[in-house]
Amino acid sequence: MKLASLILIALVAFASPAAIAATARGPICDTRARVGSTTYYSCSGSYHGALDMSNGTCNSWNHRGMLVGSRYYRYYGGCGQSCSATSCNGGAGNYVVVSGSNGWQFRQLHIGANGSSGSKTCDRCALGLVSSTGQSYGAHVHADNRRYGTRMTAWYTSVGTTCGRSAYCGNVVGNPTL
């Protein structure tokens, strides 16, 4: 065997990591929680490319990390309590980001800050309250899976999630890439 082959064998193990398929459950541990918008707002309006989920309450239920397994949720805060739309953080309100490989991210937006809010590593823990901080009309959880800032839709369409689907924390709503 030539040197090139030996070197290849020695180094191929260290190729950059492939993206991982994660599992996302609903963010609200209330069986009344439902998906309201998916690819289009209210399932008929302009492009949205994300899941909006709510149980019709504001600032009373926990907004839980959706990803199954321990993840580092980086928190971006600074928005005051609000149950109607604001422009805080570019419309995202208080939010968390889980970063994956090669530009992939999973985000949850419009969090109402409380004692649970902050950057942390956990498995489906409370992140704050289901609220309406940022550009949010009616308190809800917005969840998206982006690559280099572009919202992808396959993570929820591939499991058949559409308007009216349960967003309860025991239900799988998608398989985001990270």
Partner: protein, 350 residues
């Protein structure tokens, strides 16, 4: 045949986490507004099932089930662990003697600790990892912590048990589990980028007497969030006796912050001095990663230093000349070309 009974038992235990079954059950108390939560009397609710019966059934399934069935058992026990009585789970982790079941139970406990944000729950598992007399059980306990946020949890507990301690284990299986955990945690929990994880990886690589473990940890955990002290520790490992450790250090330095060029200079100096082809190849790759297109003059100056490596060096020069904008694209193109070159090297290829 225990399986049908086992499934029924586990499904019952996991019921609160299943949307379709849970519709009739009260929501988890933590998810209710405070006024409602105060009214909920958890102590009065009957336990859904007893852990010992579940464990007997899981032990049998783990011993003779297929891989898929074993993964399924592990997932069910993990879900059940979120609602099982805490003391029962802690006792089971402290006393289990079957390595396969200890790993599954430990993972379930780690899931609960992460869910509850209570690292203190991990203590019995950490004790097994550090102190159990049976190396197979120590390794199982370490594997149970994989990708659970274990580095942060151990730090929060005050560092009595951490990976720098566990990597000193006399048994290779335990040390390998430490490397696997750090690599998986970096990738799966943090997306490959976290300063605390990087610091722990450098600490483990420095503390490890096992050169293979040190090399793997160094090669697979990027240093882009490393402190100058951590980069200095890895740079020092370029002079290690073990070539695997030197190669690992070189690969790691490719991901270090570019800084003032000291890292590139140390790599070039080592390229001149080293006599191991794998170490030299790792240095070329590190220089390519550090400088990308701007590394071309540095690499050209190394041509002829080790003639056997010149084809490898030229391959890097060709790929860097394409001016691809991201390291993973550069690396993929390099590996593709190297694989083609290796194919053409084989005498029986037409």
């Amino acid at each position: 045949m225990l399986r049908p009974a086992l499934l029924a038992t586990l499904l019952l235990a996991a019921a609160p986490a299943r949307g379709d079954v849970a519709a009739d059950l009260p929501p988890d108390v933590a998810d209710l507004p405070p006024d409602v939560a105060d009214l909920d009397d958890r102590a009065a609710a009957p336990a859904l099932c007893a852990l010992p019966a579940m464990l007997d059934a899981a032990r049998a399934g783990l011993a003779d089930g297929s891989d898929a069935y074993r993964r399924y058992l592990a997932a069910l026990l993990q879900e059940a662990a979120l609602t099982l009585p805490e003391a029962d789970l802690l006792d089971a982790v402290a006393s289990e003697r079957d390595p396969a079941l200890l790993e599954v139970l430990g993972r379930a406990l780690a899931t609960r600790a992460s869910h509850a944000e209570d690292p203190g729950l991990l203590q019995p598992l950490l004790d097994r990892a550090a102190l159990d007399g049976d190396p197979a059980l120590r390794a199982a306990a370490v594997r149970a912590l994989r990708a659970t946020g274990s580095v942060e949890a151990m730090a929060a507990l005050g560092g009595g048990v951490d990976y720098a301690l566990l990597v000193q284990d006399p048994v290779p299986e335990v040390r390998a589990a430490v490397a696997d955990n750090l690599i998986a945690e970096n990738r799966d929990v943090y997306g490959g980028r976290d300063a605390r994880l990087t610091a722990a990886a450098v600490e483990v690589a420095t503390a490890a007497t096992d050169g293979q473990v040190a090399a793997r940890v160094l090669a697979e955990i990027p240093l882009d969030t490393a402190t100058p002290d951590a980069v200095a520790a890895v740079t020092a490992a370029l002079a290690a006796d073990d070539p695997a450790r030197r190669a690992g250090a070189a690969l790691a330095l490719g991901s270090a912050p570019p800084g003032d060029g000291a890292t590139a200079r140390a790599l070039v100096a080592r390229y001149h001095r080293d006599d191991d082809a794998t170490v030299r190849a790792a240095i070329l790759r590190a220089l390519a990663r550090l400088g990308q297109a701007s590394a071309i003059p540095t690499l050209r100056a190394l041509r002829g230093v080790a003639p056997a490596l010149d084809p490898e060096l030229d391959l890097w020069l060709d790929v860097l000349g394409l001016e691809l904008q991201e390291w993973h694209l550069i690396l993929r193109e390099k590996l593709r070309r190297a694989a083609r070159a290796a194919q053409h090297d084989t005498p029986d290829t037409p």
